[in-house]
């Protein structure tokens, strides 16, 4: 492979640059919502998330104290105060008294206003307004200023989303759906895969062909009949049609063809000698399966488990058809979809919720990537 590389320095540099570009395009979108989810809700709409690591500056307006705040000192009338509230982390960088020129004066400089009035605003927002004559009137002088805020991150959004937007509950619902829907098909598929790989019985070839055919049957084909079936069963027995049991079985059914296909091709590749020597020792098929095949198949079982876990966790369609939309049943993906409708512009809610929904797959993915890739290769490169 490496032999085909251009050996020139520019060529190598170009490769690094190109890969860097691809990596950037593929990671920046996710980074965007991660950073935004940690930002203050007001800052999210005030500036792009990519500016959040540097200090951001905004222009704001405020009013100085009024005549009743004035004090006389050395023959001058003085009003003092602070433009920024107590505990405000921002610093003032420039100020002005006309909206057309909000940053006319550098901070700390003395501004000469009309009638001998002077104003000085300091970095921390404190100001001194002094005049040779007494101040009059009810309203204070209007002042515009530019304040820069240091980068500030907060976990407030996560607290809000998890505990008051219902994402926490949905997280639990997703787990409730995902864990059984991952374990049940593994068991059923493993037995079937062993039978299809190592036992001889009439109709085996046909069964394998049917399973490979079912591999590509679109989920859409199953939705309407199953919805009718579930409604019918629910009405007949007087039970709710949308239950966790229903969705576990549905996910099991939809995951089985791939599970059997993947496990069968792996189990069929196990060395024949091991099976035969066990059989000569008097082991039954059941014993061979439990004591030899299952332990040897651990890698492929792990691969499938990861696939099924990610698929079920990330599924929206099946959950929307077979589960309710109330708080006790709505899963993360469906909840996120609902939030997109109801909280359309509230990016602090959306980005945080989105990150909560993708964090589990990302952890699973990073910690078990090896098995995931192996399953991917076995599943798609013709029978692996």
């Amino acid at each position: 492979m490496a032999s085909s590389t251009g050996k020139s320095f520019i060529g190598r540099f170009g490769v690094h640059l190109a890969v860097l570009f691809f990596v950037a395009v593929w990671t920046v979108p996710t980074l965007g919502i991660l950073i935004s989810s940690l930002r203050d809700k007001d800052q999210i709409v005030a500036s792009g998330w990519w500016t959040s690591l540097s200090t951001s500056s905004q222009t704001a307006a405020g009013r100085l104290g009024t005549a009743k705040d004035q004090a006389e000192k050395d023959g001058k009338f003085i009003i003092t105060g602070n433009l920024l509230g107590a505990g405000d982390a921002r610093t003032v960088t420039a100020y002005g008294v006309r909206s057309q020129e909000p940053t006319k004066y550098k901070v700390g400089a003395v501004a000469e206003l009309d009638d001998g009035v002077t104003l000085q605003v300091n970095e921390d927002g404190s100001y001194v307004l002094s005049s040779p004559k007494a101040f009059e009137g009810e309203r204070g002088q209007r002042v515009y200023y530019e304040a820069s805020a240091p980068p500030r991150f907060t976990t407030d959004n996560y607290r809000a989303v998890l505990f008051s937007e219902g994402i926490g509950r949905s997280f639990l619902n997703s787990l409730t759906v995902t864990i059984p829907a991952t374990i049940i098909p593994i068991l059923i598929a493993a037995f079937a895969a062993y039978a299809l790989a190592w036992m001889r019985f009439p109709g085996r070839a046909l069964l394998i062909a049917v399973i490979i055919g079912l591999l590509v049957v679109p989920l859409q084909m199953s939705l309407i009949p199953l919805l009718k079936l579930y409604n019918g069963v629910g009405a007949f027995f007087g039970v709710p049609a949308k239950t966790y049991l229903g969705i576990w079985l549905a996910h099991t059914g939809f995951g089985l063809p791939f599970a059997i296909y993947l496990l069968r091709s792996y189990i069929a590749g196990l060395p024949r000698e091991i099976m035969e020597s066990a059989r000569i020792d008097g082991a039954s098929d059941f014993e061979i399966f439990i004591k030899i095949v299952l332990p040897l198949s651990f890698p492929v079982l792990a691969s499938f488990a990861i696939f099924q876990f990610l698929w079920v966790w990330n599924d929206l369609l099946v959950a929307m058809v077979f589960l309710g939309t109330e708080a006790d049943q709505i899963v993360l993906t469906a909840k996120l979809n609902a939030l997109l409708g109801s909280r359309g512009g509230d990016w602090e809610i959306l980005t945080t919720s989105a990150f909560v929904t993708i964090i589990v797959p990302l952890i699973v993915f990073f910690s078990l990537q090896r098995y995931f890739v192996r399953g991917l290769l076995a599943g798609s490169v013709k029978g692996g």
Binding site: S3, A18, V45, L172, V216
Partner: protein, 337 residues
């Protein structure tokens, strides 16, 4: 909430325990009815044969029952329902198909699906191949691949939120918080409402799927490239072939089969694409696709199962050639037995 956790754990135990109990118990029963140990030679052989007849069906039985209920029966039933009216009470012949051909939204969906099919598999395969080749040449290629692979773990809904944030639009003169519009305004352009631009919005939705699936293509193709025998490339180098010639004439032909697999896998995925369209536009602004239209008709106005089933059948027809090809390939590999 605590009750839910408890019942979930309980159900996991019951479900898993039930499965184990079934397989173990069924196996035991066969052993008891047809004992092969502790009986005379001829009987033992006879019983072993009987066991061999029954046991495979015990093993594949549960899988067959579930597959029949959840996939085989629905396929037949959906076909039947596509000839029935909205409440599935009376036979209407081809009326639903007739409706589909004349429906503006349906035609728009077909058009968009064709567009998706033309762009997404090609883009994913092409980008995946380029990235696979490039990352093979640098020392930090594995890390780069991991990062590009990562979106594959993200749900379509999550990805939609991520990209909706990128496409976010603010009125002219306001601070653009969507990175795309920020970039456009920085370059002197006007901000756009990307997802409601008719026709072009399709491409902005496709980018999401390409972003997710390129990692898949990359991993598969990368492993296929590694499998190319060194000698073929070395021979080409000795013969004075340029890197381009080596890539197109030596490497590509050898991984042709893998490219086909990647292409068809993504093609099937594209036909089923639903979540992205639902969450981004819900089919507005001429961005409808078949899978979302089908979901829509399942529930629109109380649900029209006839039309929904018809759309599902049309998706199925599109998948059919791939299905037949798959079965043929598999039969060839197992030698037809």
């Amino acid at each position: 909430m605590a009750a839910q956790i408890f019942s979930a754990i309980l159900v996991i135990f019951i479900g898993v325990g039930g499965c184990v109990a079934y397989f173990w118990g069924a196996n035991k029963i066969v052993d008891v009815i047809f004992p092969s140990r502790g009986v005379s030679g001829a009987t033992a052989v006879d019983n072993l044969r009987r066991q061999g007849l029954i046991r495979p069906w015990l093993f594949v039985g549960p899988a067959m029952i579930i597959l029949t209920i959840y996939l085989i029966y629905p396929v037949v039933e959906t076909l039947r329902l596509s000839f029935m009216d909205r409440g599935s009470t009376s036979f209407v012949g081809l009326a639903n198909y007739d409706w589909a051909i004349g429906d503006r939204e349906f035609r728009n969906s077909i058009l968009n699906n064709v567009l998706w099919l033309a762009v997404v598999p090609a883009a994913c395969t092409f980008l995946g191949l380029i990235i696979a080749v490039l990352t093979d040449k640098i020392w930090w290629g594995t890390i780069a691949k991991s990062l590009i692979f990562l979106p594959l773990a993200i749900s379509f809904v999550g990805a939609s939120v991520i990209w909706k944030f990128i496409y976010e639009y603010r009125g002219e003169g306001q601070v653009q918080i969507g990175i795309l519009n920020a970039l456009i305004t920085r370059l002197g352009g006007d901000p756009q409402v990307w997802i409601s631009l008719p026709f072009w919005n399709n491409f902005f939705l496709m980018i999401i799927l390409i972003w997710i699936q390129t990692g898949f293509a990359m991993v598969i193709l990368s492993s296929a490239l590694r499998g190319i025998p060194e000698e073929t490339i070395e021979a080409a180098v000795i013969d004075g072939a340029s890197p381009f010639q080596i890539f197109w004439k030596i490497m590509i032909p050898q991984i042709w089969g893998t490219i086909a697999v990647v292409w068809t896998t993504i093609t099937i995925l594209v036909l089923k694409v639903f979540d992205i369209v639902l969450t981004m536009t819900n089919g507005q602004w001429n961005s409808q696709v078949l899978a979302n239209l089908m979901f829509d008709w399942m529930f629109r106005g109380g649900g029209d199962f006839g039309r929904g089933a018809t759309i599902a059948i049309i998706i199925m027809i599109a998948v059919l050639p791939i299905m037949i090809w798959n079965i043929r390939q598999a039969n060839k590999e197992t030698g037809g037995h």
